[in-house]
């Protein structure tokens, strides 16, 4: 019996291996995110996976304000990857309010609550 691996599973398995895999349409050549079985740009269904370069830029950002006894403030951002897709993420390593739109970031696989997750850190220098 053939086991079917869905697009969501493929992404998550790659993430568990420390890789950000992005679906790319064989027909129009554009990337998309979130993973799905049809290209949202041209509606063709032949898709391949590519490893993200890890280069990205903050498209927009906010700070979720939270009492310090509950863990304090944290960042939520939309990161635009070099491949042209956007996803929700968090910039780590700097104060949440210091994250700015247009900031160049390195996108990597980190952890949130013990689960692998796409995170960002400011590009050095």
């Amino acid at each position: 019996m053939q086991e079917i691996t869905g697009s969501d599973q493929t992404f998550r398995r790659a993430l568990a291996n420390g890789e950000i895999a992005l679906p790319k349409c064989d027909s129009c050549g554009k990337f998309h995110f979130f993973p799905r079985v049809v290209c949202p740009h041209c509606h063709e269904t032949a898709l391949s996976w590519r490893r993200a370069s890890g280069r990205g830029e903050v498209y927009t950002t906010t700070v979720v304000r939270r009492r310090s006894e509950q863990g304090g403030d944290y960042n939520i951002c939309m990161v635009e990857l070099e491949e042209g897709v956007r996803m929700m993420s968090r910039v780590e390593g700097i104060a949440p309010a210091d994250v700015t739109i247009g900031m160049a970031v390195t996108v990597y696989v980190g952890e949130i609550d013990g689960q692998p997750a796409v995170l960002c850190r400011p590009v050095e220098g």
Binding site: F33, T60, V64, M87, M88, A117
Partner: protein, 383 residues
């Protein structure tokens, strides 16, 4: 809808219930009280209702629950869920159903007891899978990121955002039905507790109970109802995404499309509109929708609202009941944009009644800037 439906159906009754706190009542109780008020306003009874248009946050089949509660067996039901825009969207489907005779009396109805039941915004939707791990606070994180982007691209300021809240409060101070009527200054908004940068708690809508209802009939029957009919001249919907991470341009909404289509159907332009009622879940909404609906150019919304220009005595009356920011916000505010527009046109607005309101725009927003629905309503003079 297209121009073929222009003026074919009219709002002949409006009702509301449980504004602020409806302690001890269920969401369906509030829904029923609003519905009863609307059919009475139309000179009808619940037994006349044969078309039901309803969604609520309580259940996966709220329209059926509402019909059952009201003891009616509608021959046409629309429970399409597009969030807070749903009730503006129902104006289109009600007009269509009435026009082809699928129903004769359409009741659009909604109720919520979120404030007394839980004290916070109630939602029946799950956090999106690819967003949930980052623990965004819905819906504010989404709107905060739109506000941040608008500020970045166009230089919109926190002061301009604050002025939206200040204008809403100034209207609410005239409205005995409004929940928050105390004084509110720009400085108060800026100094309030930051919830999701750049939005403070005063940039956010209220969390209240409340229900609203609208009765629509065909134009020929509308003339026999006790209140002056308010005609649906044009309406249109557009949706751009469901999850905020899928929104292509955080500073431009699908209101650009819904507005253009609604204006085309009604045969009017933004400059003709006497009154604007927008779903102001957050202060950024008002700025985005004024731009996208064509009341000012993209990027100029901040300057457009600054210094009382949309407040009483300003250049354009916007959210004259006090809006979701100061009047009522039971979770899905859209229906109240239509109710306030209809009452201003009829001349029985609860707060400051404006003179000579013939053309009004009501705009609903659903999800996280996801669904945009625009309706243009007019008095008999506009037919």
């Amino acid at each position: 809808m297209t121009g073929d439906l222009r003026g074919k159906a009219a709002i002949v009754g409006t009702g509301h219930a449980g504004f602020g706190e409806a302690r001890g009542l269920t969401a369906y109780d509030v829904m029923a009280q609003a519905g009863l008020a609307a059919v009475a306003d139309a000179g009808l009874s619940l037994a006349d209702v044969d078309g039901l248009f309803c969604t609520m946050m309580e259940d996966s089949m709220p329209a059926l629950m509402a019909a059952e509660y009201l003891g009616i067996q509608p021959r046409f039901v629309d429970g399409t869920m597009t969030g807070g825009s749903s009730f503006v969207n129902y104006l289109t489907s009600a007009a269509m159903a009435l026009d082809v005779g699928l129903c004769d009396v359409a009741l659009i109805v909604y109720g919520s007891n979120q404030r007394t039941a839980s004290g916070r915004l109630v939602t029946a939707s799950r956090p999106p899978e690819y967003e949930a791990p980052y623990k965004p606070r819905y819906p504010i994180s989404a709107y905060a990121m739109a506000a941040a982007r608008h500020m970045h691209e166009y230089g919109t300021t926190r002061e301009q955002l604050a002025d939206v809240a200040v204008a809403a409060r100034a209207w609410a101070q005239h409205n005995p039905e409004a929940f928050e009527r105390g004084p509110l200054s720009r400085e108060d908004v800026l100094a309030a507790r930051m919830v999701g940068d750049p939005l403070t708690v005063r940039d956010c809508c209220l969390v209240t109970d409340g229900g609203g209802a609208i009765v629509m009939v065909r134009a020929d029957r509308a003339r026999d109802c006790p209140k002056p009919p308010v005609y649906l001249l044009g309406s249109a919907a557009a949706s751009s995404h469901r999850q905020i991470s899928q929104m292509r341009d955080f500073s431009t909404t699908a209101a650009r499309e819904s507005g253009a289509q609604a204006f085309a159907a009604a045969g009017v332009a933004p400059g003709d509109i006497d009154l604007v009622e927008l779903y102001d879940a957050f202060t950024i909404n008002t700025i985005l929708f004024l731009e996208d609906l064509g009341f000012c150019a993209k990027g100029e919304g901040g300057a457009f609202v600054e210094g009382g220009r949309i407040a009483p005595g300003g250049v354009l009356p916007v959210n004259t009941n006090g809006g979701g920011l100061s009047c009522v916000h039971p979770g899905m505010y859209g229906i109240f944009t239509v109710i306030e527009a209809a009452r201003q046109i009829r001349g029985d607005a609860p707060g400051q009644q404006l003179e000579n309101i013939d053309l009004a725009l009501a705009h609903g927003n659903g999800g996280v800037l996801s669904s945009q629905v625009t309706a243009i309503l007019g008095s008999g003079n506009t037919l």
